[in-house]
Symmetry: C2
Subunit: 253 residues, 2 copies
Amino acid sequence: MLTEDHFTLSEGAEHNNPRFLACKYCRALSLCEFSSGEGRQSKNDRKIIKRHRKIRRGEFPYRAGDPFHSICVICSGAVKTYALNRDGSVQITGFHISGELMGLNAVNTKQHTCDAVALENTYICEILYSHLQELCDESFIARRLIFRILGDQIAHDQMVLMPLIGAKSATQKLAAYLLSLSQRFERRGLSTDEFRLSMSRGDLGNYLGLAKETVSRLFSRFVDEGLITLKARHIRINDRKRLTLMATKAPSV
Amino acid sequence: MLTEDHFTLSEGAEHNNPRFLACKYCRALSLCEFSSGEGRQSKNDRKIIKRHRKIRRGEFPYRAGDPFHSICVICSGAVKTYALNRDGSVQITGFHISGELMGLNAVNTKQHTCDAVALENTYICEILYSHLQELCDESFIARRLIFRILGDQIAHDQMVLMPLIGAKSATQKLAAYLLSLSQRFERRGLSTDEFRLSMSRGDLGNYLGLAKETVSRLFSRFVDEGLITLKARHIRINDRKRLTLMATKAPSV
DNA sequence: CGGCCTTTTGACAGGCTTCAAACTGGGTGG
DNA sequence: CCACCCAGTTTGAAGCCTGTCAAAAGGCCG
């Protein structure tokens, strides 16, 4: 499915260049190259994908209430999404890293229900959903692709979120989430054992339903026990086996 | 989209007859009538949907490892799904009531990852997924329908599951889940304020990450405070406003 | 009507949150 | 380039919430 077209857009890229990373991950998704590969005959082919929008730390890819018009692919960087409760408190609904999609929960409502904010300088590609749907009317491959994207999202939500709800201790929650993060980095072709935690302890706590102090204390305990190494927001997993045990087993450990 | 065909299948039905309920809810989904309405010209039209399979309490609609071949619609009754951890402990992944879909998380893996077991005598319709996909190649409406189904599932997971993860107290969790259950019954045309809890306290606790005793105690407290009325597994919500407050607000109430 | 599973209620121990204070690190301006 | 500053992080102490263990009461099904 790769086309020169595709590579042209990334020309001059180097390994550390976010534009290059973008296409590397989109390729893994087989979404970007598809969007640029199909429909070449049309003059509007470029409109289906808006490439490499730069979003600085603290800026918003989209806000709650914005009309939904495109699926966002994170090329590099990280984004958190959150909803505001009526009483003013915030509920973080997810963290999204390079190669992942954002905003799929709005495909039916046609309106974003969460705010999205960049945790660090971030590049995103936007794929216009209405155009992608039109493409589906013509292309068998597009149909299967979009089914796969939606299905993956459902499977991901079920498999990752459920253990976090059912976890009976803070230890379980944090261990489980670290492992799921690790898997996500691996799936994007990055290191499984060593990665950057772009979110603050407070954000993590809010997401997992824990106080930020508890998160901090658990990290310290994990370090003491040799499970992980931590330098500021850079984490390395040293003992995946035991971490997995803590994620599933009863809190009596 | 309704056809005589459709009504024929439910003939002789009465309001309390599960077969009638089946079609009532499927109509709400616009999935069943579509499946029987489209493709009438074909001789295979009946194969796309397998109607009204009866499943007794304790029986399994499907097991983990089974090949995924159809989307299950619950006509009447209730089903829980759960996964087994390596250490033998179970993690309940969801409760499904009449009018809802099951097994969507397997559309891509092509293999079920959870066990599903009926909490009471249950009727389900099965819609063959491969046939539905083929239908998508021919029908615009089928495409939009399946997008809507998948999109709804994603939105549901995001909106319902996230608050449960982020809840900071047992009270929040249980109140939030009762309200989301209530919404689900309403969406299916049933009473918002009065419904049956098909699952045991233990199941609820397992799902929410609470001890069954805690669930029981919270129910008692809710009753004492006049928020709900409880008779065995029949619940009535008396003060939705305050229950909503407990679902979002800090545990200091 | 009897047996069994579920639910309720109590007591206690332990984990988590809250409040508070000291510390660290990244970003800014001189 | 360095010092400063502030947000984020770590660590401590105390109190509440929730899990665990235990026993009694209730409800459902044969």
